[in-house]
Amino acid sequence: MEINIKHILLFKTDIRTEGDKRYIGKIMEEQQIDQWTVDLHDIDCVLRIVSPTLKEEEVIELVVKNGYQCEILT
């Protein structure tokens, strides 16, 4: 599967635990975001989203609205 790099969005978050991840999972589902992962092992708790349509600001707003920190990963 070739991934279009432009469709990959990366964020630094504080989604630290399995519980946090499950909670975010529900939100992702509601937004019909299919491909997303959170690297709980990583110090930046990187949220990785593959989406042809979503914009970074939209994701940040969504995550922050639900009580987590979220900024673009550089």
Binding site: I8, T37, D39, H41, I43, R48, L73
Partner: protein
């Protein structure tokens, strides 16, 4: 769309293997890997979903690459002695030329990833080596026996010798370098033990 940079991907793989062996699974982080590769963490996450995904992908690729080397010039139809000798030759060469990868695969084998590792090796080896031992049994060259017994005698000594060599030490810390003489005298005994 920017095409994948093949060199970068290769570099990441190589450094990932080295880092894994150096710090282990717990110590391994995407951050550390990004640093030793001289790339941003973001770049890593473009190629891999997360730490587990990276370790698995890199690990599996190495398993497949080394398995292919181990099967070079191996003919399941040849005699037991010839075939086993070819296996020893191939595996020794592969592990001696790729000591870091070999160590990483050992680590994977005793980790939560072990099922995938066994599956991957099994996929490659089961048919040719299965046929090989079956042929030998049918020809009456070796007796049928449990797989584990066979494998432990056929390859255990080889892996032990390679481990001593990679660690530079043998029993009680004595310095050790694997020579052809040591290798093939062990092989001769293995062959003697297995042949009917």
């Amino acid at each position: 769309m920017r095409a994948r940079d093949i060199n970068k991907v290769e570099l990441v793989k190589q450094k990932a293997i080295e880092l894994l062996v150096e710090v282990g699974f717990e110590g391994f982080t995407m951050n550390k890997l990004a640093k030793v590769c001289g790339i941003s963490v973001a770049t890593l996450y473009i190629y891999y979903q997360d730490k587990d995904d990276l370790i698995l992908k890199v690990g599996m690729e190495e398993v497949q690459r080394m398995s292919a080397i181990m099967l070079e010039n191996f003919d399941p139809e040849c005699s037991f002695a010839e075939g086993l000798r070819q296996q020893w030759k191939n595996r020794a060469r592969c592990i001696l030329e790729n000591p870091v990868s070999a160590q990483m695969i050992e680590q994977l084998r005793s980790s939560t990833y072990q099922e995938k590792v066994f599956e991957a090796f099994g996929e490659v080896f089961r048919e040719p080596l299965g046929k090989f031992t079956q042929n030998a049994i049918e020809r009456g060259e070796i007796a049928p026996m449990p797989l584990e017994s066979y494998w432990s005698v056929a390859f255990g000594p080889l892996y032990n010798l390679l481990r001593f060599h990679n660690e530079g030490k043998s029993l009680s810390g004595k310095p050790f370098v694997l020579t052809d003489e040591v290798l093939w005298s062990a092989f001769d005994m293995v062959l003697k033990g297995l042949k009917k």
